[in-house]
């Protein structure tokens, strides 16, 4: 079967177009009395057109069901910074949740390392010893991997770290001169924080940025994250 629009026989082409148009108008409810006369005349010559009409009507109804679903999706999407439908806010929180956790982890790690100098003093890393209280003393001299593991372990204990996602996303790879490969990758950590109030930043249609409080009932998430 082909969908070739060209046809060497102009009469056949005209008939096919007229037939398609009549069926289409009947389906849309836009057929006028003249169209109906033409349709009946065609049907008198070729009763198969009734079957075509029936199939076309069935296809149209099935497609309308899908388009109805599409319209329902479209109704949920407002302009950014507009009416602020809960769904839109939830979507934005999804993005914030995906990347904000990383930023928080980075900030926390930076805080630890910058705090080592004055506090670390005479303390040495405790190796495999249990982590209690402040982690700062035991981080002195630790490798990044040990420090990171301690952060995860301690974070889990006090409920701050919920999980580290198993997917580590590769950002960049490049070969080094010694034959090894440098891999820049992203580790993803989900953190939990209890806040008195939450705000989100929005941009209005003039490009002005400002913060507004977030309604708590609008950020309840399902388990798909």
């Amino acid at each position: 079967m082909t969908h070739d629009e060209t046809n060497n026989n102009p009469d056949t082409n005209l008939d096919a177009s007229a037939r398609d148009l009549l069926i289409s108008r009947v389906i849309d409810g836009s057929a006028d009395p003249e169209d109906w006369s033409s349709f009946r005349a065609l049907a008198a010559q070729d009763p198969a057109i009734w079957s075509e009409l029936s199939s076309a009507q069935r296809d149209h109804e099935a497609l309308r069901e899908s388009i109805h679903a599409l319209e329902a999706i479209a109704q949920r999407v407002d302009l950014p910074g507009g009416s602020g439908s809960p769904h839109v806010i939830e979507r934005r929180f999804d993005l914030v949740a995906r990347w904000g956790g990383w930023a928080a982890a980075a900030v926390i790690l930076i805080g630890w390392f910058t705090g080592l100098g004055p506090v670390g003093g005479a303390h040495q890393p405790t190796g495999n010893g249990p982590m209690t209280g402040s982690m700062v003393p035991s981080l002195k001299g630790a490798t990044p991997e040990q420090a990171f593991d301690q952060y995860i372990e301690s974070g889990r204990e006090d409920g701050r770290v919920v999980a580290e996602l198993p997917d580590q996303l590769v950002v960049e790879t490049r070969p080094l001169e010694d034959g090894t490969i440098e891999v820049i990758y992203l580790r993803q950590i989900i953190e939990r924080k209890v806040l008195d109030k939450a705000y989100r930043e929005v941009t209005d249609e003039f490009g002005n940025r400002y913060t507004i409080p977030v309604r708590v009932d609008s950020v309840v998430r399902d388990s798909s994250f």
Binding site: M1, L21, A56, A62, L63, S66, I67, I73, D167, V170
Partner: protein, 186 residues
Amino acid sequence: MSRVWEGTRRWVAAVLLAHKSRTTDLEDLLQQVALKVCTKIHEVRDPSAFKPWLRTVAINTARADGRKTTRRRFGMLRLAGSTRPEREPEHLRGMTLSDDAKRVLDAAVALPEHYREPVLMRCLHAMSTKQIADVLGLPETTVETRVARGRRMLRETLEHAQNTKESTTLETKGGSSAVIGAGGAR
């Protein structure tokens, strides 16, 4: 501005559906378009050019996302131990549709490009041929012809698929009976 968006987002969704890849989430794309409307609307100087401009934005968004999806699929390495189940591709993910609706939608989005958009838009609630013509920048008669021809193509595609399915079933049944017949003759 919000009112204009509310009056256009349904057909923008139809344009996205006509051009997006099967695995892309329609709602994500629609949000990207909404964001672009806010940030780039100043580029439109003539109000009559708004609809064709918006359609172009939607098509470009869908195509750019399609390219990105392909790059992501083939360009991203996974480190050892990271596995993720593939999602079943659907045009309208998350929506409950009958089998008939899914089958017809699959065939509709596979129509040649000229016919896809008009056929989908004609199913939108209360979208007239004139409104579709305004969006597509085509004469009304052309839109009507494309809708009619697109519907015929859709019908033929579905009938062809149905006939193929039935003939395969018949062949299988015929094959079984031939074996039984041969066994009986011995």
